[in-house]
Structure formats: C-alpha cells, structure tokens
Symmetry: C2
Subunit: 609 residues, 2 copies
C-alpha cells in the first residue's frame, strides 16, 4: 500500500473511533438525589480512602487512619451510613497508624489490615467491631495492590523508597523483587491449579518506565509478570530471598499496523468465567496524549505467552526452562539463577482478544474500570457491562458489543464535581460504589424506571440490567419474561405493547407581537430532536448537551399560528415529544414600552376593572 | 523524579495545552455573504485544483485540465471572477493534458506550466492570454511541490510509480533521487548565497514512511533534506544522474522528555525575515491520533545541523566531508560517492525554536498553514499571524505569542460545508484565498469593522491587522495612530475614548403566567455571559457554541418583575449587553387554553372592539 493510502486509512480510522456521536452516553442521570450516599466529616477526608470488600461480602471504606463499614440505617429512611471499624482520634491516640493494606479476611474476621507506625508495620485479621487476631509484623514491605492467600501476603511497591515490585510476607519464606526498574503496580491476582498446587501462579499487572534511550521508543511499557507461588527464592550465592520464577511480557493495546499503542496501564478488572473456563482481564490504558483505551485479554492467552514464547535473553546454554515452578527453587542451577537475575522478558506480547483491537477508544478521561456480567441465565447468552469512572465524578455504564461499544448511561452521583478515587462493584447486589476523598455513593445499576414509562424507552436503552415488564407496564430489573433487545435495541420487540399516546395538542394563545418559546425536553442523547411547524422543520438539534430544545418566537404574528410538534428520532423509532397549537390574540397584549401603548393599556385596564 | 511525578506532569501538561477554552476562536464570522467568491461550473470541479501566485503577483487557480486567472469584475459590483487561461473542452481537443506543475514564470510570461499528455510531459512559460514560449519536454518527471529557478525545474514525486524524491529537469544535467524510500513531499525551497552561488542549496520538506520494524518506533518520520544546486550527479560507476550531495535530518516536533512526537508533516509555510536575516519555517504536523501541532524552525538552525552534526553512517574512512557543494560532483572520490549512495542522515535532529515546544497544539483538524507578518513598521515590532484551514471549510486566524497562541477569529467563508483543498496568502494585499474543488473565496484579513463599534471591541480582538481609529470611531485597518494592544488586549488603551452607553432599560410588559424569554447576543467566545436579575445571577454561560444566551421565564409572576441585565466579562473588561425591565400585567392575557379563560377572553374582546 502506498503512502497516501496509509494516511487516508489512519484519518478515517481515528475519526470513526473517536467520533463524538458514538462516545456520548445515551442517557444521563444527573440528579444526585437519586443516589444513596454517606459522607465523612471534612476533617477526616483523605485521598487515601478507598473502597474494598470484606470476606463477608460487606463493603468497607478505609485508608489513611480510618476504616468504616458501609451499612444501611433504617431511620429516618433506609439510607447509606458508615460505621467506624478503626477510627483514630489524633488527640487521644499517640501512635495512630497509616493503613497500607486492606484485604478480605477469614475465620470470622472479615478484614485483614496492615497499619504502618513510622518504620514499623503490623498486619492483623480484624472484625467489624474492631477486635483483631493473628497479628504479625515481620518483614512487611510494600502495600496495595496486594493479595492475601493462604499464609502469605503479597504486596507491591511502586515509586520511590524501596525497590519496586512484588513482595511476599510469610512465616518461612519472605521474598522480594530482584530488579531495579521504575514500576507502578495496578493489580495482582492468583491462578490456582486445584489438581497441582505446585503450579499455582501469581500475575501482577503494571506499567514500567522505559530505560530505552532511543528517541523513538515509548516512555512507558504496560506489562504483566508471572510468579510461581511455590517460589522459595534462590541460593545463598544468587537471588537469595528474591524471586527466581518471575517472567514478564508486554501487554499489547493499540494498533500494531500503525504502531499506535496505549502504553500506560491505569486499572485492571477481572471478569471470572461463567463455566470455570477462561477468565478475562480488562485493562484500562492511556497514551501520552491522554486518549484512553480498554483492551481485553484472556488468562489462557496470558499464560500461553509465558509457556510458549522465546525469551529476550537467549537461553542457549541453559539446561532448564526459565520460569518453571519447582519444589525447591533454592536448588536451581547457578546458571539458571544467574539468568533469572537479569529479569528475562518474553519476546511475544500478550495480544488482546478481538483481532487485536481495543474494545473501546475514548477521549473521556476514564480512571477506573469495573466489569460485570449480566443475564446469561437459563442458557441465554449474558452481556458484559463496563463501568468507567470519569473526571468530575461521573461514571459511564458501557455495553460491550462485538462492534462499537454502546454507552448506556452517564451517572452523576455526586452533588458537586469531584475526583473519583475508588470504585467497586458489588456484583451480587448489582450496586456500584464510588468514592471521593470524603464520600461514598451507591449507584443502583438496576434503577430501570429512569429510562421512561414506555416499552420502547426500555428497549432502546439497551441496558442488560433492565427489561420491559408487560404486566406492570414498567421498565424493571431484568428477569425472565421481561422484554429487552440488548444487541440491537429494536423496538419491534414492543410490537405487542401499546405505544405512547401522542395526545391532543395543547392550545396556547399568544398576544400579537409578543415573545414566546416552546420547550421540548431532551430525554436521550442518541436521538435527533427537531421542531416542526405544520409538518415543516423549523429547528433541529443533533449533537448538543442541553436539556431541552427551545423554539423561540421573537414576535408572534399570524404566520406563527399553527401546529407545532417536537419530534424525536432514534434509530428507526420516531415519536412526538411535545405538541402545541399556537393561536395569536390580536390587540394590545404583549406590547412593549411605547408610551402610547402603555397609555392605551392603562386606559383599557382602568375601563375593565 | 519518580513515576507518580511523571504521570501527574503529563496529565497536567496535556490538559492545559488542549483545553478547549484557549483553543476556541474569540470571534466567529459565519456569514458567507461577507466574502468575495467565484465558482467553477460543477462539471469542471476537480480535487486537483489549487491556488498559486504568478510572477506578476496575480492569483491563479488551476489543476486537472483547467487554469484560471482570478480577477475582479467591475459589474454589477466589484466581485471576484475567473478568467480562463488554459481551458480544455473535452469534446473539441483530443489531447487535453493534465496540469502537473504550476510555477511563477518570468520575462512577460507570468506562468510556468507543465502538462502531461499520457506518458509525455511538456512545460512552457505562459501568458494570461494563453500564449506560450520556451517549451520543453525532455526528462520531466514528478510534479508538485516543485520549484522553478534559473534554467532548472525541480519537481518532487511522492507515492506509487516513480522513485520518490527530488528530480531536476535542466538542459545539461537532469538528476534523480538515489533512494527507494516511501516519501511524501510537502515543500521545496531554495537558499541562495549571493556572494558564492556554488553554495546555493535546496531544502525539501517531507514525511518518510519508516522501514524500522521494531514495534516501538513510529511509523512515520518528518524530515528535511539538503541538496546542492551545483550538484552534477556522480561518476559513470556510481550515482550517475543521481544526487551526490543530498543529506537528510529529522524535524523534531513534540516533547522529547516524554517522547511524544508529531510525526506526519502536513504543510509548510515560510516566513521571510524582515531584515534579510533568518527566515522561519512553520511546519504543520499531526500524530497518529490526529492531534495537530505547529513547530517553527529557523533556516539557520536547519543548515547548522547539516554542517555540524555527525552522520548516522560513520565517515571514518572518508577523506571528504559528505554533502559539500563542489564544482564538479562527477569527480568526487569513489568512496564518497559510495557513501552517499546509502542516503546518510544526520544524527542531530532539527529542533524548533522556543525551548523545543510546539508553537501550538490542537484537536482541530488543521490541513494547511500560511503565515503573515503584520505591522512592524516605524521601528515597532511586528506580529506573526498563522492562518490554518480546518475541516468543513473554516479558517483560523491565530496570533503567535510568546506563551499561549490566541485564536483571533474563525472564518466560515463557504456557504456549505466543504473541504479546503488549497490556501494561499496574498501578503501585500492582506487577502487570504481558500479554495474547494469548485470555488475560490477571498478572506479580507483587514475586515476590522466586524469586531464591533467600540474601542474596547477593537482592542480586545488583538488582531494585528486592526486598530481603533479615534477620529472616525471605527475599528479600522491598522495604521499609524490607530489604537491596538496585541500583546495583552488591555482596554486601558481606550481610556481616552468614550465607552459604550449602557442605555435605559427597555421596559417589557408581560401578562401574568405567560411565557417569555430574554435574549442576549453572544459576540465573543472568550467572554463569560450571564443574566442578572436585580443584580443577582440567574443564568450563566461559560463555554458554549450558541449565538445567544436565552433566559427563559416559564410563567410570568410578580417575583419575575424587576431589572434584568446581561453582562459580558472578558479579561478585566465588563459590559452590559442587554438591559430589560420586566413588568407583569395581570389579567387574562397569556392564559392557556382553559375553556373558561377562552370564554372570558372572547367576552372581553367582543366588549372592547
């Protein structure tokens, strides 16, 4: 292909993928009163506060020096509240610690919390009443993202201070990273092999700052590394107390043919498979120009790269395969340990599913991602929904489709613009929790009535959480028998339902030459709205952020008399949203301030009343 | 600096540089009737038509099979017209050629035109009456961008077909490129050394498709290459009839510290120096994500790189310096000729002025750039104005400043949305010509009255072409004695002028419970507009694309009575744009269609008239 061809393809490609039409939420819920919320006292606000789930499925909000359990208060109404679990009053307690790790606990203790007091860190299992058990304080470094599994706590460290990487705290074999790279960790997960625990592995997702001095190479590289849980570190000579099994690979997200990559990994969400098969990893990335992309990987593809790819450092002289999980890594050959000391990488990159394309590309400054699987019961196929936090405290609910992603809704749960610092999905409840430095807000993902009171409103919404309940005539949480068409949003599915009643036109009398306006409410941002007068278009709105389409009548005249309809068109579905009949009343009404007119008006009024 | 620090810097940097506030034109001229225009018959429209200047300073519009001179018809009014110079009527002439090169001519022939007839190309000097002279047809390859100088025509070839690069057609020594790269040429200019013509050089600006297979490297590279005009090609053994002096260097545009580069060169404009010193080259670039940037280079910096930088291929064994201009390049040593055959590049990149930063970064899809120098007479400093064509047929007039560029105006000269295919500045006339496939429109850059009829309007516009004429009380083309403040737009400069008259409020009588609206015209998109009722803010508009700020009164009540002012605030300057006094008239007026009210109204009317 010639040069010109390349340029045109790139132009068209980007124009389509970032077109504002498709990246605009169909529906906006901006009424903050529609959300449950609970706030901290301003003085306890902290950028370190984050949401997490306890072992009991309850939600917690903690960080800095405080930790709360989220609950619902019965009075005055059922409303979100925070109950203190750990609460530090500066004046009273001299050694208030900083919470560094919060993990789900076990054995009646729903929490596992690490707290740093100066140089010293202590980790305990904790109950909601604050009682603690099984505390330890040996060799605890790093913090979140972390993972508590078995008798080991895995922590990570990003940035200044210690060496960046994955740390393990356990009674017998604490381990630390061997490399000196500049890394920022985003997520750490484990994959178990029930039939062979020796093969249990950890996967850590992070961005690494590149050491490559060549001017063309990217400054950042998104990576995943694999570690054997059975790793016991190296021999006394090489890699003692350091990982001997860690391999890393680059996460590819972008367009390889045009060498356009998203290189900074911002967040990762894991969607478990439904049938115990292949879990999916959703990575939220950005590039240097602040464009965001979501790429989806399967755990099978990730582990495949580590087992089949060649290594960046040749393995010629090695007798063993690097990165294998073995019973006692301390007995590995000196050659292999020396090889592992150089942090080998895989030559192959981990490619996303879907023909290498990002699932979504956007100019919105998304910062966090959560993913839910909706429906898929009774042998039906389910749908994946992405929840993405935006700047200024908004959240996008996005339907994953095989083609263009569909932004179902944009929630504005906060009363004032704010930074969303953490976001957590409670999948069984179908509630999304988002938090700022001092507030937690709950978004009910099954708040379906907001879409409208017609079957078509409900079907056009394409929200997998919702369906039209024919019996109750409401858009309701999806269940067997409700009507929905997630793939196409085709209102033909409503054919058996009664459609909206256009209703009679409201007659409005307007005095001659006076000003008036007609207002048409905007309900969906994927529709085209227009005002028609006696069937002819007067004004249209295609891509606006307003809440209404206003038709202005500068000075009422006989030519302005007639029937006015505001028509909304979305896909194949057209409806009349507002309907007026304007009639002019002649005479003095609505006159402006000419002295003669004023005098005349005064005379008329005095004559009448 | 740690990793987190890096991320924050990058986030803030981009947010600032692409903030919509600063990249929004202050003033929009959308009335197409305000521009002179001339159109082709639809059947003659062609994407190849482009604007160019003849040797006589006149403007021409040609390409495909037609060429016109732009002129002004006296009747009915002074209006833009096209006079055919070369016009091919398919039915009449069997060998209608395609125009491949259009250059200013000389010696009474204002044009030099090359026309291709199948495989055969012929170039002639031409007069506006169509007569031609000094035609030749030997060894003519390539097309625009081209350069006619002395007895040589330099053409370029981009894309499929021939070898990409610079070609020379001249009687004795035609030359062609030696490399096989995939390149797209944007501009070719010459730099003469009056005192030593042997040192006369050409500079060609282009984008090259990278051969680098490494996944991290960019797909495209913007470059400039230098060629000696005295080059006679190599020996019979090496580089015969090919350039022996061509060197190339990368044009750097972007942020080296974050390795974010704009890699596709779209257009180049040259701004001659005022004092015969250092000409400036303005490059319009884009990156793979369609973000545009303008970077500015000096010719001194460009030639410096070619004379001082090391070469990408070591020159160890060479006795001569590669790229030197010599009397007879055919006699260069075989070693040097072999060295030049490998197309050596400079290790150093050409860096833009201004601390490496782009002059401008924008999400607007600019496609062409022209640059003008305005003012600077009588020892005063002049100002540089960039003219940038956008999609949909608009043009931005941008003031170059030492900090943020200031978008003075956005012109919409076409009646319908169109692609601007060519743009040319007539600097002495201060007119900008833009063309689509079938239309040429003239933008008068000194159309100053559009900014308003107050001194403050004129000064806030920061348009170097305009100043406030105190005598005539108009915003007029800049001349000695007119008031302007290009650097700061400070209205204090108008202190001696009479300010705008706020005027008495217009009293409006509005019937009780009827609808009404107040409208405030939006004149500048850099101002904040708000409606105040009795001094308290009711509604504000900060970043909208509308033409007016409408305050809606849903149903007039006594609480709505009072004084309404629409206030515009731009920098330190505040003014009242609209001013109303609303009074409610009680009674039946404006009632909606309740039958009782209608009956009452009918009764009242019948009683009165």
């Amino acid at each position: 292909m010639g040069y010109i061809g390349f340029l045109m393809v790139s132009l068209v490609g980007i124009a389509c993928s970032l077109g504002h039409g498709s990246h605009k939420a169909r529906f906006k819920l901006e009424n903050a009163l529609a959300f449950q919320r609970s706030s901290l006292h301003r003085q306890n606000a902290s950028r370190n506060m984050k949401l997490f789930e306890g072992a009991n499925g309850e939600m917690y909000f903690g960080g800095g020096q405080h930790l709360f359990r989220l609950s619902f208060q019965a009075k005055p109404t059922q409303s979100l509240a925070m109950e203190p679990v750990m609460f530090c009053i500066q004046e009273a307690v001299s050694n208030c610690g900083n919470i560094t790790v919060t993990q789900p606990g076990r054995d009646g203790y729903p929490l596992y919390v690490c707290t740093a007091y100066g140089d010293h860190t202590s980790c305990c299992f904790r109950a909601a009443n604050g009682s603690s058990a099984d505390c330890r304080s040996d060799f605890i470094r790093g913090g979140e993202p972390a993972l508590l599994t078995g008798d080991a706590l895995y922590t990570t460290h990003s940035g200044l201070g210690y060496r960046d990487g994955v740390y393990r705290t356990s009674k017998n074999t604490p381990l630390m990273p061997s490399s000196q790279a500049d890394q920022r960790y985003v997520k750490i997960i484990e994959r178990r092999k029930e039939e062979n625990p020796l093969q249990d592995k950890l996967y850590a997702f992070y961005t690494e700052k590149s050491n490559d001095q060549s001017p063309d190479s990217d400054l950042f590289t998104p990576r995943v590394s694999q570690i054997c849980k059975a790793d016991l570190g190296g021999s006394k000579d090489t890699l003692q107390f350091q990982w001997t099994s860690q391999l890393s690979s680059r996460l590819s997200c972008g367009d390889p043919s045009r060498k356009l990559y998203y290189t900074v990994l911002l967040d990762v969400a894991v969607l478990p498979s439904e049938d115990g098969g292949d879990d999916r990893v959703y990575g939220l990335f950005k590039n240097g120009w602040e464009i965001r992309a979501v790429c989806v990987y399967t755990m099978r593809d990730i582990s495949q790269v580590f087992s089949t790819s060649a290594f960046s450092i040749p393995t010629n002289s090695l007798k063993e395969q690097p990165g294998q999980c073995v019973q006692d890594s301390r007995k590995l050959s000196p050659d292999l340990l020396k090889y592992m000391k150089n942090s080998p990488e895989m030559v192959d990159w981990v490619r996303p599913i879907g023909n290498n394309n990002p699932l979504l590309v956007s100019h919105h400054h998304y910062s966090h991602i959560q993913v839910d699987r909706v429906g898929g019961t009774q042998g039906q196929e389910g749908h994946n929904v992405l929840l993405l936090s935006m700047v200024r405290g908004a959240v996008h609910k996005v339907l994953e489709t095989s083609s263009e992603p569909f932004i179902i809704a944009e929630y504005h749960p906060f009363k004032l613009e704010t930074h969303i610092l953490s976001m957590l999905l409670h999948s069984s409840e179908k509630k999304l929790y988002v938090s700022s430095s001092d507030e937690v807000v709950q978004i009910d993902l099954r708040n379906c009535s907001v879409y409208g009171n017609q079957c078509a409103d409900c079907v056009l919404a394409r929200d997998p959480y919702c369906g039209w309940n024919s019996g109750r005539k409401t858009c309701a949480p999806y269940s067997e028998g409700t009507i929905q068409d997630i793939e196409d949003g085709n209102v033909q599915k409503c054919a058996a339902e009664s459609g909206p009643d256009k209703g009679a036109a409201e007659t409005v009398l307007i005095p001659e030459s006076s000003r008036h306006y007609l207002s048409c409410p905007i309900h969906t941002h994927h529709a085209t709205y227009r005002w028609l007068k006696d069937g002819e278009e007067r004004q249209s709105l295609e891509d606006q952020k307003q809440e209404q389409l206003v038709l202005l009548i500068e000075g009422m005249g006989s030519a302005d008399e007639g029937g006015y309809e505001c028509e909304a068109q979305e896909r194949d579905y057209q409806r009349t949203v507002a309907h007026y009949q304007l009639r002019m009343t002649s005479g003095a009404m609505g006159l402006k301030s000419s002295p003669l007119a004023l005098a005349l008006l005064a005379f008329l009024f005095s004559a009448l009343w």
